[in-house]
């Protein structure tokens, strides 16, 4: 999304707009929700920070819409255009969200199952946004994309351009639907709902959280998008290299001196893959591993307790 914001920002800039684009990072891990924003205006952009009342909201992963912590729906009203990359219809989303926003669907690709692996989604979203704003030509957008992705090589640029053009063309019927709104006016504004912070004793006001031993229970393995798999035919049984390098202590050593990956807590950083001296650890996409698991269960027919 950071790249998407940069492509869109550069496209506006090339079209003669003053621009501000920025990502917001929260938790630093693969697959964590991330957002970015772009402001564009004919005059210099002085406003800063998260856009409180966006004219356009683009959602690349529709599972985030219903997640309150992701804040996708914050500050949207009837003037907002909400573009969702989804398999579902706009009407379905309108009903589900009971929102006055103008909802437009960027059709999600049929072949994509894993939300951590959405190829070209940044370019597609940026292109769709450019088309919806209606002030950026395809050529200008293509130039911006090529500039932002040039360090990745010609092939990557070409593939991204191809996907972006599909998204751009799909949105052309709605070109110009996004309307620029101004900042609140001092002549008439809603007063901030300021409160006085009361004094509270340290028992309440110290920022300490006490909870049970959660680190074992929290299955951080759910964050994994790539899964390391040990090939025991090749494992030399040194036992210590992978288990020592694992930053999460998620590789245990059995009584026989063999390493065993705790998939409930392995986050898929793949440090073990890089470190294993006989290269006995390979990595495969998590969704492929899951498919293999479920078919293995089907074949063995009830090998697991139900």
């Amino acid at each position: 999304m950071k790249t998407a914001s940069r492509i869109l920002g550069s496209a506006f800039f090339m079209a003669g707009y003053e621009v501000q684009d920025a990502p917001r990072y929260g938790a630093e891990r693969r697959g964590a929700p991330l957002f970015a924003y772009v402001r564009a205006d004919r005059s210099p952009v002085n406003e800063r920070g998260i856009i409180s009342h966006p004219d356009l909201v683009v959602v690349s992963d529709d599972t985030l819409v219903g997640m309150p912590a992701a804040g996708v729906l914050q500050g949207i009203d009837q003037h907002t255009v909400l573009l969702i990359n989804s398999h579902e219809q706009a009407e379905t989303w309108s009903e589900r969200l009971n929102s006055a926003a103008k909802i437009i669907i960027l059709p999600a690709r049929e072949d994509v199952e894993d939300r951590a692996e959405l190829p070209y989604i940044g370019s597609s979203c940026a292109a769709a946004s450019a088309a919806l704003c209606g002030v950026i030509s395809w050529q200008m957008f293509a130039d911006a994309l090529s500039e932002e992705l040039s360090h990745l090589g010609d092939d990557v640029v070409r593939q991204n351009l191809e996907m972006a053009l599909t998204a751009f063309d799909a949105m052309l019927p709605y070109a110009g639907i996004v309307q620029q709104t101004g900042l609140p006016s001092a002549a008439e504004y809603q007063k901030p709902d300021w409160v006085e912070l009361p004094f509270e004793a340290a028992a309440i006001s110290a920022p300490a959280i006490h909870a049970g031993a959660t680190s074992v229970k929290v299955r951080t393995g759910l964050w994994r998008t790539m899964r390391p798999i040990i090939d025991y035919q090749r494992c030399s049984g040194c036992w210590w290299v992978c288990s020592t390098y694992c930053p999460d202590g998620a590789i245990n050593v059995t009584a026989e001196g063999l390493p065993e990956i705790d998939y409930d807590h392995c986050k898929g950083c793949l440090v073990c893959v890089a470190q294993c001296p006989p290269q006995a650890i390979e990595s495969i996409p998590e969704h492929v591993a899951k498919q293999r698991e479920s078919s293995a269960v089907d074949i063995s027919g009830g090998s697991h307790d139900t």
Binding site: S10, E18, D21, R48, W194, V195, L197, H210, A211
Partner: protein, 424 residues
């Protein structure tokens, strides 16, 4: 000149590159790391002729910076927040060495609790060290201020290290259009670093030491740092004029907007000032005589300029994105010190604390501050300090506390159950 979109971090790295720095000791910390990443990429590609060394801590990094500067090398480094505090012993020490170099600080709130977002409490902790402090509001200003900072720091009347401060996220990760100064012109503007009598060459080894001294000599050296820092105020204009002549952009010690006839004034530092800029426009449209004074050079503190600027105004809202625990906003106290006893000092000097940990300040809040100032003036009252904080934010913290208390109760209950099962 090339106008391009750059983040605050890239703008800082460009400043160092254009100043032709020779040495960059480095240590990573969010949200500053990209500065070092840009520099290392350029050095690796041979686009920048400098040596980068990654140190094991900010304490060592600042020591290395001071040591290299003391040997006549042009040095650049960068840090943020906890990193600045980790190096704090050396921040004071290298200023005492009179070692001139430039460090960019990317402001981020301090622990505890932890945050990654902008807040000036980190840079305020370096307030009394002897470093110059320049606070930026835009990405453009970061590149330009790094160039200006070398001129000020290396000036023979000053010769002190300088911090160029930018706000985390609001500038560090935000791309804005930046006019990149022409490399030749920038190099000519910054000039060669003349270390004068600081001499150290590996080919001609020398000892250099700082003596341990009693009160009399100690006072002399410390007060000389103070006087040298104040000299910045008298050499500043000439350097800023030269910069304006070459690059067409003028930076004053205090950046004034709509101040000529302003009755009500916002005084603040950092990138939130561009938001206040918009608020001033809107308030003016609604008929208010409002202005904005952004303190750009905070150390040395431009006391005389503040006096000239603010006497005769009706009321001032000081917005501090920092808090001195047990006292309040730092800029507010300093303005009160500057204005004390002046006949025409503003009747109301209100303190607002806003933007801690990256907490945004809305346009409506700027409008409301001016409304409060007017009410206070009309009623002949003073205003108590205010933390910008809304009912929604209080509700949010109440929800978090409820979760924490539920967790706590669960643990307590588990302990009771365990004790009872033991009895049985």
């Amino acid at each position: 000149m090339t106008r391009k979109l750059l983040t605050g971090n890239s703008a800082a790295a460009w400043g160092a590159r254009l100043a032709r720095v020779e040495y960059t000791p480095a240590f990573p910390i969010t949200p500053q790391t990209e500065i070092i990443e840009d520099l290392s990429l350029w050095i690796d590609r041979g686009e920048m002729d400098a040596l980068m060394v990654t140190l094991e801590s900010e304490h060592s990094m600042i020591t290395a910076a001071g040591a290299a500067a003391s040997s006549g090398v042009r040095v650049f480094t960068a840090t943020s927040s906890q990193g600045l505090l980790y190096g704090m012993e050396m921040i004071y020490t290298v200023a005492g060495w009179r070692a001139p170099f430039v460090m960019v600080n990317v402001s981020r709130g301090l622990s505890s609790p932890i945050t990654l977002e902008s807040d000036h409490s980190d840079i305020m902790a370096a307030r009394d060290s002897g470093f110059l402090q320049i606070h930026c509001a835009t990405c453009q200003e970061i590149t330009d201020s790094v160039l200006l900072a070398y001129r000020l720091a290396e000036h023979k009347d000053v010769r002190l290290p300088a911090i160029v401060n930018q706000d985390g996220f609001y500038l560090s990760f935000t791309r804005e259009p930046v006019d990149l100064p022409d490399a030749e012109k920038a190099a000519a503007f910054v000039g060669e670093f003349d270390p004068e009598n600081m001499q150290f060459k590996s080919g001609a080894p020398l000892s250099q030491a700082m003596a341990v001294l009693g009160g009399g000599p100690y006072s002399y050296f410390r007060y000389e740092v103070h006087l040298a820092l104040q000299r910045v105020l008298s050499v500043y204009d000439e350097i800023a004029d030269e910069f304006a002549d070459v690059f067409g952009r003028r930076y004053d010690i205090i950046d004034n907007y709509q101040m000529d006839d302003a009755e009500y004034v916002f005084v603040m530092m950092g990138s939130f000032a561009t938001k206040a800029h918009d608020a001033v426009d809107s308030l003016r449209q609604a008929g208010w005589k409002v202005g904005l004074a952004r303190v750009r050079v905070f150390r040395p503190f431009p006391q005389e300029k503040i006096r000239q600027l603010l006497t005769g105004r009706r009321a001032v809202a000081v917005i501090d994105q920092n808090i001195s625990m047990g006292m309040g906003g730092v800029l507010h106290s300093e303005l009160a010190t500057a204005l004390y006893g002046l006949k025409d000092a503003p009747a109301v000097l209100a303190s607002y604390i806003g933007g801690l940990g990256g907490r945004d300040v809305s346009q409506q809040e700027f409008f409301e501050m001016i409304d409060e100032l007017k009410q206070a003036c009309d009623n002949g009252e003073t205003l108590p300090p205010r933390l910008l904080y809304t009912q929604n934010e209080l509700t949010e913290i109440r929800n978090l506390q409820a979760i924490a208390q539920a967790e706590h109760a669960e643990i307590k209950q588990a302990e009771i159950n365990k004790a009872e099962s033991k009895k049985k």
